[in-house]
């Protein structure tokens, strides 16, 4: 299969999966990590600490969470973009 066809089909499948999920599924899309914690609590497990870092005074405000997730994604995306860019440039030379 030609690479371009593969990329188009690949991205189309991903788009269909996400658009279909958002349109068809009626859910709150809460995190599965939190849901796992709730299952543990249903079994009678009580967490022995909530956030010990906050107790010792290290806690970033909640508003920064989205920003820092974006920073994390940006770090990854910039490196991948740089790799693809240098690759394309070295091919031209």
């Amino acid at each position: 299969m030609d690479n371009k066809v593969l990329y188009i089909v690949g991205f189309a499948i991903i788009a269909i999966l996400f658009v279909g999920t958002l349109l068809m599924v009626n859910g709150e899309f809460g995190g599965s990590d939190d849901a796992g914690g709730e299952v543990a609590e249903d079994y009678g497990y009580e967490p022995w600490t909530d956030n010990w870092m906050a107790d010792i005074g290290f806690e970033l405000p909640g508003e920064t969470e989205s920003f820092l997730f974006a920073v994390q994604a940006a770090i990854g995306a910039i490196i991948i973009g740089y790799f693809i860019g240098t690759n394309a440039a070295s091919k031209k030379e």
């Binding site: 999966l17 958002l22 599924v25 995190g31 990590d33 967490p47 693809i84």
Partner: protein
Amino acid sequence: MHIMEGFLDPMWCAVWFVVMAPFFIVGVIKLRKILRDHPEQKMTVALAGAFIFLLSSLKLPSVTGSSSHPTGTGIAVVLYGVGVCSVLATIVLVFQALLLAHGGFTTLGANCVSMGIIGPLCGLILWKICSKAAGPFISMFIAAAIADLMTYVVTAIQMALNVMTVTGADFGSAFVDFLSVYAVTQIPLAIVEGIVLGMFAQYLSTSRPDIFDIADTNKLNPFSTEV
């Protein structure tokens, strides 16, 4: 798969740190060797880590009505093996635990074992099998999707073991309950991760086929430091 702070008994926190330690130490040794003996591979190592950084930051909706995130460990484990993958995953987990209160330091060992070691090891085994018969897209699709999915299966095992020893719950039913929360949500996301990394492997195979020479020399043995 990020087990939150306090959701593992201190005994299990210690156990998973002990399990993680040898893989992590071998990974550090191998990473130092790669950077010293093959400085031209610095960019490839960064690329392997970048996929973990990028994909594990994306909280994506799933068909189950909940959301989760991919792991992005497929490229790292295929190119550099389980040890290096565990080091790269640990960097991401520390970033998230320190700055995002996502996961935690007490559960770092458990999270690294699932996301950086056992999940990727399953993916690497499948890469070694599939790459002999199939092309890079199919091989990476299978390796990345299984590495992702197995990460959540291992997390379900870790959580089930924890509630079994602390509350006396039946392991089997606890495992099924945790699996239904983690793994079922993860199946469509594992497929998406497989497609993304599969497409990138296809791109590499045509633009930089030399990179797959690294994958060919990469040993299945997680304790090999050969580069």
